[in-house]
Each structure stands twice: as C-alpha cells, then as structure tokens.
Symmetry: C2
Subunit: 489 residues, 2 copies
C-alpha cells in the first residue's frame, strides 16, 4: 500500500542530501533543528500563549502554587523510575563532574523536590519541557522535546477527594479549550493487579503483562493476546480471562458489579480499588462531570510509579480531523488508528519515599496535560478560520506624512511608551506614508498617529483608524487618553 509513498520518501531524502551539498559538491552546514524538535514561530507562540493561559488560569482557580526545577537531574535521580522507557532518557556527555540526564517528565523531579525539601503537602503546577529519545511523529504532535503541564496534590488526605479534583480539572480544561467531545477513562492499578492475580498471571509477570494491556488503544485484542501468549509466555486460558475483563466499560454500576464478581472479589487489592472507584464516581457526580468519565478496565498506563487510580483523557471528535491528515502520510498510517491521549495521570503513593533516606511516604496524585497535541489541533483550527492571528498587541504606529520628521516621531513614541501605550515606529529616517500604512494593515495595528508640519504647528496629531480610514485631529494633551479609549475597550 505504501509503495508510492515510500518512493516519494526516498526522493525527498535524496533531495535533502543534495541540499546539503554545495554547488561544488562539498558538504555544507546543515541548517536544521535537532531530530524531533522544532522552533515555534510568532503565530504558533500566540496560540501557545492562549492555551497556556487557559490551563494556568484553571490551575490557579484550584489554588495551585507553582515551582520550577532544572532541565537536567543527576542521572541516578531518574534511574529505576520509568521501567522499559528508561532507554529513551537523554544523557549528557561526561565532561568531568556529575553524570546528568535531561528530565523525562515533571513527576520524578517533583518527587525529588518534595523529598529534598521534606515537604509533606503541597498543591503545585509545573509547566515545562521534557525530553524523550522516542520515535518522533511530528504530524501527530509527538516530539522529542515537548511541554508537559502538570498539576499534582501531595499529602495524606481522605480517599479520592484530591483524585476527583484532578479529573474535574481535566474536564474544565478540555471544555474551555473547546477541542470537541472527549472521554476520560479511569481505572486503578490495584484493580489491574488483582485482575492479573485472579486470572492466574504469575506475580513476576504483572508489570510486563500490564505493558501489553497498555497497547490495547493501538492494537487489536487478538494482537495483544498473541503478545501475551507468544512473547510473554502467558497461558492461553489466563489471557482469555484477562480478555473478558479488559473489554468491560461502565460507571459506578460496573464497579458495584465487579465487587460481586466471584473471581474479582477474591482479590483484596481489586476490592480496595473498586471501592475507591465507587467513591470517586460519587464525588464526580457532585462535580457534574460523570457524563465524560468512563471506568475502563483496559486502561493500564505505562509508567511504573502508579499505585492507585489512573486516568487518561482522549478526544473523540478532533481525532477524526488529524486521522484524515495522517492518511496522506503513509509512514504514519498505522498510528492513525490510535486516538491520541491529551491528558493522563494517576496516584503514585510510593515515589517520594524512593527519594527519602528514611523511606517516608508522601501520597501524591496528579495529572499531566499533553499540550503538543492540543497545539496541533488549535493550529489547524486557526488556519481554517478566516480570522487572522495577531502576533503583537501594538495599539498604534507613529508615522509621518513628510520628510525630516524622525526626531519628532521618536519624541512622540517615547511619550507613548512612557504612558504604557504599545507603539511602533519605522526605523527609517524618511519612510513613505503608504509603506507605514501598509505595515499597519499587515500587522493588524488599529491606529496611526500621523505627524506633519501642520500638525506640529497646531499642537495636534492626526489620528487615523486603519480599518475605516477615518482621520481626526487630536490635541497632544488628549492623545494618550484617546488611544486608550479607542483600543482598551
């Protein structure tokens, strides 16, 4: 199916190679960003700022403080926290001194921060870039350098109250960003472990079987079963039993039913998880968010450090848009089956204790918003919209209609800046009026202050409204209040 695409890909590679060679065939400088990374141009930054503002506003609404940690950690801080994914960690070169790695997520640095500062309760958010030497799929918003927006609640509290708040936050953010319909899947590590136990999975295979279950959002059950049986050596019978459970989805009712299930109810762990799911749904009802939340036994999540409730939000609508985009790209065709998750998290009660010299536990629950995929969707929406994205907030351009008025322009703009007005001037001694007006049209600047000999004599400025071309003389004394009146509405 992909043969034509593959051929085109080859040609593209050759062309890229050719571009690296000069006219004389010598190798030249390669002008690019590292694999899996990208620059953000001003338009992308304007969208990014809007998304961040929505997210930060929500985190602040829920009373979170914020912290920041270094982009790299001691290598040993990250060791043993990510299971099979550890191979994706970026290490720094040993240049003499400590061995360092780029952070892989914001959760492990957060746990290190809590243990190091002996903090036993905090509600904090952290928005920063993390690094994974993964196979990039940039059209799907999967990069090697990407932002995470994390909100976590640390502390010994009554069950499921902070957990429910994390889900409320996901609900608020996805609603406010207006990305189309979404679902939040919920499960619990204890339910998974209990399920594995009652299905006859040997203890030492829990983690690896869990990793395989985690692939259910990308692979069919048949393929998952094959991996369990053929690669991981599970009995066919055990796999089939797991298969029955992981097809179950529901709400509080499903948790109640499973608590009565003759097999599941044999596991204390599973029962503890199921009771907490019930409690969680009770709180989610009070928050009026159960319409989007589904208890889904196939949700596993890869990371090793989760100990209780886990959740993941997926878009159920916007995904169609991006799947269509990806269909054009053969290399990614198989990936387009998966509906990308835009948020995920869970409870990790043991992680801080791994850092504490005395092993003191600080229970934690948190959520991470996967912002890159959200950016991609917002960018597509912005491009489809007829509205132009402004990349500055400039209110007025200080222009002149005649020559030799640079000094007067600089004097006036200095007054405006000092009064807090966002203003620009062209960096030319004698710019043409037309080019000054054109610049305003392109940049979306709404007003122009035009200076000329006559205006200077009269102590006024000609104020021009770019959209309507209307012009009025305003006295210099009234200019600042007039600009504010017209632009700060």
């Amino acid at each position: 199916v992909c043969r034509v695409g593959g051929g085109l890909l080859e040609v593209a590679k050759l062309l890229a190679l050719k571009a690296q060679l000069g006219d004389d065939g010598k190798t030249q400088f390669v002008l690019k960003t590292p694999k899996g990374t990208r620059d953000y141009n001003p338009k992308q930054m304007a969208i990014r700022e809007k998304v961040f503002n929505t997210i930060i506003r929500c985190f602040k609404r829920h009373g979170a403080e914020t912290i920041d940690t270094p982009v790299f950690e001691l290598k040993e801080t990250l060791t043993g926290k990510y299971g099979e994914d550890s191979k994706l960690i970026y290490d720094l070169k040993d240049q003499g001194g400590e061995l360092l790695s780029l952070r892989y997520d914001l959760t492990v640095p957060f746990a290190r921060y809590l243990a190091m500062n002996k903090i036993t309760n905090i509600k904090r958010y952290h928005i920063a870039k993390v690094y994974r030497r993964d196979n990039p799929a940039m059209t799907r918003g999967r990069y090697r350098e990407f932002y995470q927006c994390d909100f976590d609640i640390a502390g010994q509290y009554d069950a499921m109250i902070p957990d429910a708040e994390c889900l409320k936050i996901v609900h608020e953010i996805l609603n406010e960003l207006d990305l189309g319909d979404f679902r939040i899947k919920v499960n619990d590590r204890r339910i998974l472990d209990g399920m594995f136990a009652v299905c006859g999975v040997p203890d030492d295979k829990f983690r690896t079987i869990c990793s395989t279950v985690d692939k259910l959002d990308k692979m069919s059950w048949e393929d998952v079963k094959k991996e369990m049986v053929n690669e991981k050596g599970l009995s066919e019978e055990a796999a089939d039993q797991i298969g029955e459970y992981v097809s179950m989805q529901g709400g509080m009712d499903l948790a109640e039913r499973l608590l009565q299930d003759h097999k599941m109810s044999q596991s204390k762990q599973a029962c503890a998880g199921l009771s907490d799911i019930k409690l969680l749904f009770k709180y989610l009802q009070l928050f009026h968010v159960t319409d989007k939340v589904v208890f889904d036994l196939s949700l596993a999540r890869g990371l090793d450090y989760y100990t209780g409730v886990i959740y993941e939000a997926v878009l159920t609508q916007a995904s169609a848009v991006s799947a269509a985009n990806e269909a054009q790209n053969c290399a990614n065709a198989e990936e387009s089956v998966s509906v990308g998750s835009v948020a995920g998290g869970g409870r990790y009660d043991g992680l801080v204790g791994m850092f504490d010299p005395k092993g003191r536990r600080v229970p934690c629950v948190g959520v991470s918003i996967g912002i890159e995929r959200i950016f991609s969707i917002m960018e597509q929406k912005a491009e489809a919209s007829p509205e132009k994205v402004r990349t500055t907030e400039v209110q007025i351009m200080v222009a002149s209609a005649q020559k030799n008025l640079l000094e007067e322009r600089l004097q006036l703009i200095s007054e405006l800046w000092n009064a807090g007005i966002k203003a620009e001037v062209m960096y030319k001694k004698n710019p043409k009026l037309l080019s000054q007006l054109q610049y305003c049209e392109e940049a979306g600047i709404p007003l122009v202050a035009i200076l000329g000999e006559q205006e200077l004599k009269d102590g006024v400025v000609k104020l021009r409204v770019v959209a309507t071309r209307e012009e009025v003389d305003i006295s210099r004394a009234d200019l600042i209040s007039e600009i504010k009146r017209r632009t700060e509405a």
Copy 2:
C-alpha cells in the same frame, strides 16, 4: 584572612559527606540538584513571575513578537561562535544520531532561526534558560542554568534607530523594576578595534587584547596591563596608550573630542564608530535617557559576534547590598569587587550570514536582560519587607462548621470553580473549623464560605472576612457576585 572560613568550609564538606553515608556507612542516594542549578520554590516563582511580567510588558509595548527554539542545537550550530568560552558548552552524550549541545545563549539560535527561515526582518523577544559549564557563584546569582530575556531587532534599517530603542528598553525595565540607580555603559567594537590599531596592537592580537580589556570591571588597570604585556606579549608602550584611552568616559562630547583626536582620527573604523555614538546619543536625548548612559571606552564585552555598538547596564546602588552579603563568604570575597551587570547587548551584523548558505547578511541589534541577579535582589527585598509574598491567588475557602458536610462543600466549590472563582476546600471529610480558618490565615486567603445545617436550610452561606472576622449571611444566588465584588477590586 580566610583561614577560619576555610576551616568551616572543610567541616561543612565533611558533614555533607557524612550525610551521604547511611548509619552503616554504606553510600546512599545523593538528594540534590546538579551543580550550579537550583529549584525555584513557590515564593521564588511568585517573584519570578512578577519580574517576567514587567519585562514582557515592556517588550510587548515595543511591538515585539516572541519565538521559541529547542533547548539543544546541533553541536555544529554553536561551533565557532563563542571564542574562548566554547569550552563552557554542555554537550549531550552520543547515543546514536546527531551530536547535540545545550544552547549557550539565545542569540545564536535566533540567528540560526532567521537563516533557516530566510527571515530578513523581525522584532522578537525570547525568554528561556541557557546553559554554561561555568564556575557557579550562586550567592551572586551566577548559575550554570539561568534565564535570559532577549529582545532583538533584525533588519536593514537606518543607523542607530533600533540601537537606541534597545537602550530605551533597558532604561524602562530597570526603572520599572525599581532596583536602585544604574548606569548603561556604551562603546563600539569599531572604536575598540580602531583604538587597538592606532595604539600599535598587531591585527591578530585584537581579539585576545579585547578579552583582556573586558576584565577591567573585575581587575585593576595594573593587572590588566600586566596580562597584556607579560601573557599576551604586547609592548609596554602600546599597553600604556591603550591605558590612556580606556580610562575615558563621557557623553556625546567625548565622541566629538575623539573624532578630533590626532591618533584616533587616523582610523576609519574608529571614526565610523564615533560618528554612530554621536548619532546614538542624539536619539537617546529624544528618549530622555541620557542621564543614565555613559560612553565608556573600557567596555569590551566578551562575545566574538559583536560588530558595532555594545552596551552593558550595571547597578550602582543595589550592588552595595550584595557586596555586604558576600563579605561573609570568604570564597567570594574577591568577586564582590565587581558590580554585576544586569543587562548587555550590542550589534551583530555578521552572525546570521554565518548560517546562510549564500552568506546573506541580516543586520541585528539586541539586548539581553540578566534576570538571575535581578531575582536575587528582588528576593532580598521581599525578605526584608514586612509584606508577605502570596504564592496563590485563592479568593475563598469553602469550609464547614459541622461534620458530614463534605458533599455540600464539594457541590458548592464546583459551582464556584465553574463561575471562575479561585477556591479551595480541605481534602478531609470532617476538618475542624479552626484548622480551616488557620489555613486561610497562613495562605492569605481573604474570604471563607462557611456551610452549616442552618445555612443549608436557609439557602445561604456564611461569608467570613478573614482579616476582620466579620461574618454575613449571603444567599446562594448572590454568592458569586458578592465574592467577585469583594475580591476583584
């Protein structure tokens, strides 16, 4: 003098070593951030946010867009841009694939971005962390990971207009941050080069002699001269002539005088630089900022890429505070002589061309605000002030006076969140009223909404003002507008 301090330092090192050993003497996990880096706690973040907002507001006032680039670049992108400082670049480990380095500043990635995207004019700011394997001096705000706040204007424009705007920006920001008195030193690479030429410095020694001149803010003239003569092999006569020039400071008048100087005027380069300094001062007069700007022939700046005007801002008052702090620390005693620079920049007309396959030049001028030192000062000020730094913006706590009202609290806080109110609730089924009120006092939360059986029956909420302990019953229907009225003033 430092013997006692040195002794204490030894003891501290031993104690740190002991802390790494468990009770049984086995090595334990080291709980720290990498050398030269730090975490920011919520209080520091609140201050950081305030400083960033001031700076961003200024950059936006001047019509700048913003971009972002990856934290690492291809190693070859950074090669040959930083002269002797290149040894301070952090390299990533070769894990198969491209050779990468952490960015050393934001200027080189900006130039790479312009060349890569064939952009010939833009005004952009970029606030991000950069990395230097330097000797950290954290009490002075010198870290291995630190923020830079860069504003640059790229494009072919009339001389000194964008350059003057950069200085106006430094002036605005340092004024608004209220850090005490400051000076902005100005010089020009062409004046330095011309000066070296007329003083008899051989062409191939310009850069290295320039590096030595750059040390004049940390070393006496005698020591600088010694380095020139003994280490760099300059004739004593040439050194003395340089000594005369680099002691000169002034304004437009000095530039005029040097244009008449029988020796300096022999250098075309120097004359071009001096004429531009004159023009710069003319524009700075229109901006009313000449009170803080001084033309200082000793200003050299280390980086290789500057080609024209260069500048550096130093605090002349706050430095006294931090010098006093450092006096307690023997290790840093010699460094406290230097008055830290808080902003610097200049013109670099050749850098973009180094990245363009055809060598097309894009003239650039920019300024970088050195935020870490500013943070240190703001932190010291905040600590000295009786006012408490709030780390959240929570408007109200939803509390209960009796037991078994968790559900009612969750329902109410959900309503508040949905109405955009910043609110918190304690994550306990039955918290004591006193502990809820105490939390508000500590966190600076101004209002409490108290629920009790009676209030629920009456359809009201008891609104308590934390500061005055005043309490009023507010109907549920009016609650949101009442909270807004009382807190969004």
